[in-house]
Amino acid sequence: MLVKERIARTLITAGGIGTILAVTLIFVFLAWVVFPLFASPHTLGSESVEALDATSAPFRFDTDEDRVLAWTLHRDGALELVALESGERIALTHPFGETVPVSASFSTAGDVAVFGFADGTIRVGNVGFETEMLDEAVAAPELHALSTGEVATRGAGVVERTTAGQLRRTTVGFELGEPLDTQNPSPVICIDHAVTPSGLSIVTLQENGALRVSRERTKKNLMTGKVTVSLRSAELAAPIEGAAPEVPRGILIDGLGQHVYVVFADGTTEHWNLADFSAPRLFERIDLIEDPDARLSVVAFVGGRRTLIVGDSSGRVDSWFPARAAGSDDDALLIRAQRFEPGDSPAILVAASPRSRMIAVAFASGSIALYQATLGERLLEIDGDEQAGALTVAPREDAIVARTSSRIASVEIDLKYPEAAVSALIAPVWYEGYPAPTHVWQSSSASDDFEPKLGLMPLVFGTLKATLYSLLFGAPLAILAAIYTSEFMAPRLRASVKSTVELMASLPSVVLGFIGALVIAPFVQDVLPSVLAMFVTVPCVTLLGAYAWQMLPNHVAVRWGGWQRFIAIALTLPIGVVAGVVLGPIFERAVFDGDVTNWLGGQSGSAFGGWFFLLLPLAALVVAVGVAFVVTPRLRSRSGRWERGTVARFEALKFVCGGVLAVALAALCALLLQAVGMDPRGGLVDTYVQRNALIVGFVMGFAIVPIIYTLAEDSLSEVPVALREGSLGAGATNWQTTLRIVVPFAMSGIFSALMIGLGRAVGETMIVLMAAGNTPIMEWNAFSGFRTLSANIAVELPEAVVGSGHYRTLFLAALVLFSMTFVLNTFAEFVRRHFRRRFSGL
């Protein structure tokens, strides 16, 4: 017996505690996934090996993915291969032979290289790493002994055992195409190229001043499948006879082949636009260096070839990109987007990461700084004592490899998630090509050199917008309905009404989303003016009904006070709807120029109608308050001895006059605002989109009504009967008792009901996913769509790469939702308990 007892106790305790732990695990797990986002980048260690002495900076220095091999193309045309493990130089070739190039440009990602020669020719080449898997059976015996991660040198390549257990040989391939003649025998002193979607674009500057852009056109004959390559050139600056022009610091062509920059050492930059290739235009001449004493020391592109990184002799590093001014169709001019934390000495080298917007900048003092170009943040600073001659970011972004005059030094780094840094998540970020810093969420795109934009603010905004609009619709409806149910309804009816509304709570939200998006949204779009008019007509008709009811003789009103009155109330709804259907189009013709949708789009009409419509509720409120404080007390004090019917007529008159007054007030204010020149369009209302906040407010309001209703009704019915009886016994009317006794007493319960409804609205997924249009924009416009945190998770998480910054950011979104609702609910619970204790004495 005792054994059984003990087993039961252990089992239940273990199960209970286990369950509670499992529940906490959710929070812990989410936090655990999110945590690495906030870790700061750091270095893991560094090593260096001896290498060939190089007196001048080489053309190019690069290393492979696993960092087993590095190649250097020296100024004298020599190609040097070094095994990074041992520092052994495994090959030194001269692929150019006698004709050494005078200028060269290389792709950041990919293998295309273009060389310019002294005789005015250019050659397109391919230089890059090549890997092959070796057949274990054929491989040399000493390779068999290699264990995972170990490296051996074989010929002009390096063999390593991969983690999958295979033998992989890495070497450097070098291919050179035929010389292309520029028809100008002057040496090509500067060259740059970009691999654009339509082919290769090369920009060249020759010693005699000829600046020219050549585009490679690859045409495939559809019938024969034959590929023909042709070169089209456009001359930006003609050769100058006689005196040699000033040699620029660099010429650059952007990733789309549209913009060409010629950058001089004093910072002066010519910005050419090639949008019309046959007629290149000099867009602007701009000084990139502010400080008159400083000289521009280095200029390069960030990965994606759009943003320029400019370093000067004082150690300052800035980023520039072309952008249009907000809202204009003008030309995109260069603007300075970021000023990075400067270095201690002149910036001399820039290496861009092939996979992100990270750049490494080497300074003359030997230190190297890593920046996130978009955010303008310095991620890391690596100290060094020897000036780097060449710099590269390893393809996996796990190391920076620098080549000094006699050594190759690599520093292993762990960047963590720079694209999802806290500032990127919550602050506005100045993304490439944007006129100003903005909040943007755009996690993926079809193009390759795309930069993920992980600003959470549009999603948070969408969540708040959805919550606000649904509460605006749902909360008053639910609370008023709860008051009626608990205070003015026969108890027998109350139970069945309550379970009907509770039934609403059990409707799957996917059903509501479907109805909202595919039934209500198109319907509302068709009859928008009528729907908008109904917001006014339905309450007005109901109130009119109430005043009409008051005119009934007393004995009738008392006898019909039960379900008959409810039927009458319910009947005012269809009348209000009909009134809306009739009045909507009339209103539309009168003030919205015959078409609300066009009016909202800003295509027609004056501001008056919009202001009138927006101000009407406000005016009604002002008038109602005025009437309540000025007219009603007087009416009440005078009417004491009047007949009931007379009072009722006065009341009705008061209402009608108040209504007219409200309309007049709204119209007056609207006229004033219009005269001042203000327009509501662009703010609270704007272009109409079929799936919008109004629809979501309505459908999600529908979803939160039962929750708020049930909880509010519970707390209203919990009010002790004695309080009610006392109030009624003291001569208060039913309504006075409700307003002054019951509602204040149940306030905490109603408040916590609201909080819980709010929590539900914040996290609701399917409705917003289906009915909100899912565009992550930040507009208060009631007629535009949005994207919420929850819908965003549902859409993007299945596609997100596990462990990436994007994945962790989505977990962060989930954590935010979790915390928000948990805090809201706890707060609601706290309020409820607190007030319950306070009133428990009663």
Binding site: I12, T19, L507, F514, R641, V705, E764, L817
Partner: protein, 583 residues
């Protein structure tokens, strides 16, 4: 404001009335009461309107509508079923494009109806011939409208529906029988047999070929396991390799036999076809094997329509979906929903009850337990998508990936448990509904009067005996309510499932009685709620899919509402019993 002259009291009891009147009317707040009443009425109208809409639209989906053939003034002849009617305002360009006579009539129509024109959407289908599924026709351009007696709507296995008038029954391409009535008689005579053969082909393909494939797959995995454990050149591997080769050869022979049989059945089926005359006057041939159901709607009468109606419902509940989920049935989704919910219940109820027992009976009631109780309660308010995120990150990517590493190394890099599946979905939803069960059970436990516990202790029972014999039986209905409420919530939840395993089309059910080990908890599954989202929003032909969405919605609501009603009924019974015990 003019003051009305005071009227003398009409009757003797004026004094009493005057006092009452003093507080009357304005203090009754009639307008405000009406506003509250209107809110409640609006809530009730909304819920009944929504349910009414779903029931009406979902209920009428399968009702065979009559086929109309209309001839327009532009000379087009269209045949189909009216799918909806509305009014619109035609653009000036569209008006100009009409021939004169039609334009005059449309403009007259517009003048009569404030610029809008009535039109109807005709489901004309025959997609392979016309390239459209639907056509809008303005009522005023219709020149003639008929209901051809022998017009037939054919539901095909692919390419959507077909409307036409049967002309001839073809055997091997030769017209065997001519004339609508005779042709249709022949069709009805042969169709059942052909469907049986289609079913047979389906069985052969899925079961027999499927088994062979899974046998080969298992053998291949076994080989890979040996390779991983012993290496490629080891004697075990060589033996296994030989065994595999033999098995594959064996299987291939069987494969050929079965495909031959399938080919034979196909040839027989393919020899029968129907020739139809389409609306435009052309002809089209439809193979009998491609016909799921043919209905000469205009002939069959009400009884026949009801029979087709129920037949379609039956198909809806029991068949696989066709045509990118927009036709056919929802059997896999229904099965997936039920099985996922069942698995979830099996997990959540014992755990939830255990936790509630601990919190209520064993744990020392103090601040900490209070905090835990509030936390569990609040967990019910945490958005479901958050549970989905947790499920995906924890169950799929961590637990699942670990299981894969340990037991399914041979299948890597293809994940087995390391992706969404019905087990993970059930566990995720179990976590989601856990607070519901805990809260309901705790409520039920507190509803058991303490006197009963004390009585039991007084008789010498131990704590466990008291719980097992006294407390739990009394709390049972409350626990049942909690379980049913959690099932209802779980069955209707979709958002987390999108992350942890619900898919638009799962070829295999998570239960397969023909293949060992019969239960496949790692498989993805279909779910009614996700089906609604998918068909309603991701479907290419959304207009044609809409009726299906309504019907699926009706089914889902029916399940959820039914479960809720059961819970409410149990709760009512529990309350009665509890009240009985107190008095």
């Amino acid at each position: 404001m003019s003051v009305a002259p005071e009227k003398p009291p009409r009757e003797g009891k004026g004094a009493g009335r005057r006092i009452r009147r003093k507080s009357s009317l304005t203090s009754h707040g009639e307008p405000m009461v009406w506003l509250t009443g209107a809110s409640l009425a609006l809530c009730l109208v909304m819920i009944s309107g929504l349910l009414g809409l779903v029931v009406y639209q979902g209920g009428r989906t399968f009702w065979p509508q009559e086929i109309v053939q209309v001839e327009t003034l532009t000379g087009d002849v269209l045949m189909g079923q009216v799918s909806r009617v509305d009014t619109f305002t035609p653009s000036a360009d569209a008006l100009d494009a009409l021939p004169d006579e039609a334009r005059v009539r449309v403009e007259a129509d517009m003048r009569a109806n404030e610029g809008s024109v009535a039109r109807r959407m005709l489901r004309t289908e025959n997609f392979d011939l016309t390239g459209t599924h639907f056509d809008w026709i303005e009522e005023s351009v219709i020149a003639a409208e008929t209901k051809p007696e022998w017009a037939v709507v054919v539901e095909r296995t692919a390419k959507g529906r077909f409307y036409g008038v049967p002309q001839a029954f073809l055997v091997d391409g030769e017209a065997h029988t001519v004339g609508s009535a005779a042709t249709w008689g022949k069709f009805e005579e042969h169709h059942a047999r052909i469907l049986a053969r289609v079913e047979q082909i389906h069985d052969l393909e899925r079961d027999d070929l499927g088994h062979i494939n899974s046998r080969i797959e298992r053998q291949r995995l076994a080989l890979r396991e040996v390779e991983l454990a012993r290496g490629m050149e080891s004697p075990e591997w060589i033996a296994k390799e030989r065994e595999t080769r033999a098995l594959v050869e064996d299987a291939e022979r069987e494969f050929v036999t079965i495909t031959d049989e399938i080919g034979r059945l196909r040839t027989i089926n393919d020899s029968f076809a129907l020739r139809f005359e389409t609306a435009g006057g052309g002809t089209a041939i439809v193979s009998l094997a491609n016909i799921v159901r043919g209905t000469p709607v205009n002939r069959i009468g009400t009884a026949g329509k009801w029979s087709v109606y129920f037949d379609r419902w039956w198909e809806f509940l029991t068949a696989d979906p066709r045509e990118a989920n927009s036709e056919g049935g929802v059997w896999p989704a229904l099965f997936g929903t039920v099985m996922m919910t069942l698995l979830m219940t099996i997990v959540v109820v014992p755990i939830g009850v255990l936790a509630a027992l601990y919190l209520h009976e064993y744990a020392k009631q103090g601040f900490l337990v209070g905090v835990v109780r509030v936390a569990v309660n609040n967990l019910a308010g945490v958005p479901s998508i958050v549970f989905g995120v947790f499920g995906l990150g924890f169950f799929c990517y961590i637990v699942g990936a670990t299981i894969d590493d340990l037991f399914f190394g041979a299948r890597l890099p293809n994940p087995t448990f390391g992706k969404g599946g019905i087990l993970w979905a059930s566990l995720t939803l179990a976590l989601l509904t856990l607070p519901v069960v805990i809260v309901a059970t705790e409520e039920a436990l507190s509803a058991v009067p303490n006197s009963m516990r004390e009585g039991s202790y007084a008789c010498g029972a131990t704590k466990w005996q008291t719980i097992w014999r006294i407390v739990l039986p009394r709390a049972q209905p409350g626990i049942m309510t909690g379980a049913i409420l959690s099932i209802a919530r779980g069955a209707g939840e979709v958002a987390p499932l999108m992350l942890v395993g619900a898919v638009k089309l799962a070829p295999d059910l998570p239960v397969d009685l023909g293949t060992f080990p019969y239960l496949f908890p790692e498989r993805s599954f279909m779910h009614l709620g996700f089906h609604i989202y998918d068909v309603g929003f991701q479907s290419q032909n959304s207009e044609a899919a809409k009726p299906m969405v309504y019907t699926t919605t009706l089914l889902l609501i029916a399940i959820v509402v039914l479960l809720n009603f059961v819970a409410i009924a149990i709760r009512a019974r529990l309350r009665r019993r509890f009240l009985g015990a107190r008095t």
